[in-house]
Symmetry: C2
Subunit: 422 residues, 2 copies
């Protein structure tokens, strides 16, 4: 008897506090359609799991554990930064994918990631056309960078935005109380290599230039040292303290990052870090103010304890929709969040063709940055506010969140030969 | 008619996410004893507010606003790092205090702070003996450093401990999912200048040396570079990743801090920061592993969104007890938390003489640090676990916590002359 086709699901790129909520959406929805989908096999470490036939049998997890993915941060099956080359450049990778899919009767491919991963998913979606292998590839959007096109927002972003907004607000209260005799300038470094979405979220902590954060340094606004220092000085003289949110991507007019650690990742992106220290030291050297700085780093994108309910709901919804699209016979698409109204925030799921998603970065509109370059506009606030709305606390035990741990039972290998990753 | 004596309350030293809960305890309890206590005047910026006659009339705040202090981080009246000299060294300061207290009919002095502040409070408590001015001084304990003697724990610490434990757990899940192709070593820098209490709290995230955090670097354990690097390497080879929690106070055997920014604060303490980068870079240079690091800095001590319920309850309780002690005629004491049992955690409020509190640091017992120096023991876990227990979420609106903002109406000055702070 011909068994029902199976599905492959994998997580790719930097993980988020809600990517597992998307996994939960995919798996729970697939389980509701047992007549059409056999099992969901998860790739260990993204596409690498498919290439190396290293897969996890999600059917071995209980319904309760899968439900727990909804409130568990990190990538439950392991993620990876690994981009497929083009068919012309590395045909062997595609032939290997087909070999593995064929061996395990995989006909659905769900790939959960950002821009680079959308490119991989798009390439897989072309297998049916170019190599006549009948696989449907659906991309499940995810990225804290919020830089995927078409979709109103990217699952993962809303929770980082909430974390940064809340943390900025809280730290500002701390600094304000101490400013008389202690720290006058506080710098919070946030993620966002090319787009200032996360930095902008810090702006939700206050209203206008006189409330913290008093200064936001965006990647979109070339750094002007003189204007920046004047602003810090004016701010401290007026308010006794100054809170600065700086994007890791903040750069000089010539494009050089304020902090350039010199390392590069597998995608060829520069590894950044330490801009907070650069900015704080600059303030100290030029103005003499006592400073402190925080670097949120992975804390911001793993902080499931402070997830945005809107974000969790959307992360689940795109996972669910991906499976539904597949069952409708779709290929090469991505469920996109479509905003129907700002206040109250209403959204639905639309369908975006992957050809229009892959390798495209959505930049922040100019209209979202205040004329002076140091803050957000009302339009930006209108866009961001609903995305951080609502709390969705995980359960706790003994003071710590209860995050699920999967058994991650491997799918028995069917192929003999090893595949050597380049 | 002779009016009822008033009370002075002030916040001192580094603020916490629950110091306002103590303020709430003081003010609400004083309001319940209007027959004996007139008004509570809050010092703006700690003892400076008393010296400069810069006080806030808390009676101008509604009951609802005062209740809101319980869930508002930062120091609502402003804090300060300012230590009174001894009577012999600066008699003018004490005479000024008496002048201000006399002018405003202040007979109760509640000082909310850590070790340095306990010293100030102790000196004020001696006014009645040394200068025959009838003031009762009660210290309200607070410090994230958890280094006050006698009391089981210091309000403020439990919430930082919870924040660090949860953040470590969450970031570890992130790093674990990415380790195959990305970051292998993650370093989280936490506060704690001389005692490793906060670093130890990171240990609650896992169980034993094979769970994250795999390594804790305590100020109590002289840094051994060779042993450290071997441990990191072994850990990455075994688990594919390594999570390190490092205290800002981690130091070489000669006492030199791993990171020494060179600045000093008003108390003469060195301002530290950046040890995470030092440790991460060391790993990169010697072992070649890709790293990320986070510096929690003020985020950890202002994170009211993740406060420990135990901590909030205790912060309130010591504020309440301080007023009750005063009404019982006590002087020169501090409400201390007394642990009655570990499991279930039961505690009550005891009374500690300030002479035994001031200027004494409670170090972490040796028995709390694992033999290998890189982790915590079962005894430490038994001590720490109850302190992070329970959640106490603030109310939210539009995705952000609703923190109260006081009117902070000044008390009209009665003295003509200015007091020049040294």
């Amino acid at each position: 008897m011909a068994s029902k086709p199976n599905a492959f699901y994998a997580q790719s790129g930097g993980v988020t506090s809600v990517i597992n909520a998307s996994a939960c959406g995919v798996i729970e929805t697939a389980r509701k359609h047992k007549d059409k989908i056999g099992k969901v096999y998860a790739g260990r470490n993204g596409i690498i799991g498919a290439l190396t036939e290293d897969m996890i049998d999600t059917s071995r997890e209980t319904a309760r554990t899968i439900a727990g993915l909804r409130h568990t941060p990190g990538g439950a099956f392991g993620s990876a930064r690994f981009k497929l080359k083009s068919l012309e450049e590395n045909r062997a990778e595609y032939e290997r994918l087909i070999e593995v899919f064929e061996a395990h009767n995989i006909r659905y491919f769900f790939y959960n990631g950002g821009g680079d991963s959308a490119d991989t998913c798009y390439k897989v979606s072309q297998l049916s056309k170019k190599l006549k292998f009948p696989v449907q590839a659906i991309h499940v959007p995810k990225t804290v960078d919020n830089d995927l096109p078409i979709t109103d927002t990217c699952p993962g972003f809303g929770s980082v935005a909430k974390y940064i907004a809340v943390s900025t607000k809280e730290a500002a209260l701390d600094v304000e109380s101490m400013a008389r005799t202690s720290t006058k300038v506080f710098v919070l470094e946030v993620m966002g290599r090319h787009a200032g979405w996360i930095a902008a979220a810090g702006g939700l902590a206050g209203n206008g230039p006189d409330e913290a954060p008093h200064i936001i340094l965006f990647p979109e606004v070339p750094f002007n040292k003189k204007a920046f220092l004047k602003r810090v000085d004016d701010c401290v003289k007026k308010n006794e303290y100054c809170v600065i949110v700086v994007s890791e991507g903040a750069a000089y007019p010539d494009g050089k990052f304020l902090a350039d650690a010199g390392n590069t990742d597998a995608f060829g992106h520069k590894q950044l870090g330490g801009v907070a220290q650069v900015v704080a030291q600059m303030v100290k050297d030029e103005l003499g103010y006592k400073f402190h700085y925080a670097i949120a780093d992975y804390l911001q994108r793993s902080a499931r304890h402070l997830a945005s309910k809107t974000d969790v709901d959307q992360a689940y919804a795109v996972g669910k929709a991906a499976v539904e699209f597949a069952l409708q016979g779709e290929n090469s698409v991505m469920p996109a969040i479509v905003r129907k109204s700002d206040k109250p925030y209403r959204w639905t799921i639309g369908k975006a063709p992957l050809s229009r998603v892959a390798n495209k970065e959505k930049m922040m509109p100019k209209s979202f940055i205040r004329k002076d370059g140091f803050g957000i506009t009302a339009a930006c606030r209108r866009y961001l506010e609903p995305l951080i709305k609502g709390e969705d606390y995980p359960p706790y035990k003994n003071g710590l969140p209860v995050y699920v741990q999967l058994k991650n039972v491997p799918v028995p290998r069917k192929l003999n030969k090893e595949f050597k990753l380049r």
